[in-house]
């Protein structure tokens, strides 16, 4: 079965630094998502992206965050100036369609540690 690929699997950064988390969605998928999971807490929706623009975002997704699909295959999440509370597992997901019952395919996540 095709997979969503995320790199790196672990990222350590200093507070205030910029990080870019990378994802390669499944090739024929059109809808892309970022979720995050702070240790011991729920998986939370961050943003969805379609047709080169954000279609929905949560209140977590403030001006420090941005997403981009720079080259038609990669889908990136940038955090401009990381804070300690950004430490979490970040999951990328993609889907072929947008229907409410549509299956999301998730990557294995990037564990971000902000020191």
């Amino acid at each position: 079965e095709p997979e969503v690929t995320q790199t790196p699997s672990h990222q350590v950064t200093q507070m205030g630094q910029e990080v870019i988390l990378r994802c390669v969605p499944i090739s024929n998928h059109l809808y892309f998502y970022w979720y995050r999971q702070i240790l011991g807490q729920k998986v939370e929706f961050l943003v969805s992206f379609y047709n080169n623009e954000i279609s929905e975002k949560s209140e977590i997704f403030d001006d420090q965050f941005s997403v981009e699909r720079p080259d038609g295959s990669n889908f990136t999440l940038k955090i401009r100036s990381t804070k300690l509370e950004d430490s979490a597992m970040y999951f990328c997901a993609s889907s072929e369609m947008r229907g409410v019952g549509e299956k999301l395919f998730f990557g294995s996540g990037t564990q971000l540690s902000v020191l």
Binding site: Y31, K42, V43, G101, L104
Partner: protein
């Protein structure tokens, strides 16, 4: 706002036995989808099963089935003939059908860690 609650942080089952994982949710909407996702040690979340709220029949996928009680807002997952490979974190999730599915976000519970004993 919708919420999803999984009240069992951890569960354990003997291989070949049956286990039921609980999930309750809160919503004022009438049309939505519910999902169970599995997260093995590889961390990749995999869809196990999904249920449309307007369908009364409980969804089934091989050894996995759900007990969907819409009035009680309950959505439990039953795993029959448990296998060692079923050991994972299981997340219950809700997705609104408002606007024909215009909202993309899944709302997750906190998960239940299932251990399978040989």
């Amino acid at each position: 706002a919708q919420t999803v609650t999984q009240s069992q942080p951890e569960m354990s089952v003997q291989e070949a036995e049956t286990v039921t994982l609980s999930c309750t949710y809160d919503t004022s909407e009438s049309d939505y989808y519910l999902f169970w996702y599995k997260q093995p040690p590889s961390r990749q979340m995999i869809l196990v099963i999904r249920q449309e709220a307007y369908k009364q029949q409980n969804a089934t996928e091989n050894r996995f089935s759900v007990n969907f009680q819409k009035a009680a807002k309950s959505f439990s997952l039953k795993i029959s003939d448990s296998q060692l490979g079923d050991a994972a974190m299981y997340f219950c999730a809700y997705r609104s059908a408002r606007g024909g599915g215009a909202t993309n976000k899944l709302i997750f519970g906190t998960g239940t860690l299932l251990a399978v004993q040989p």
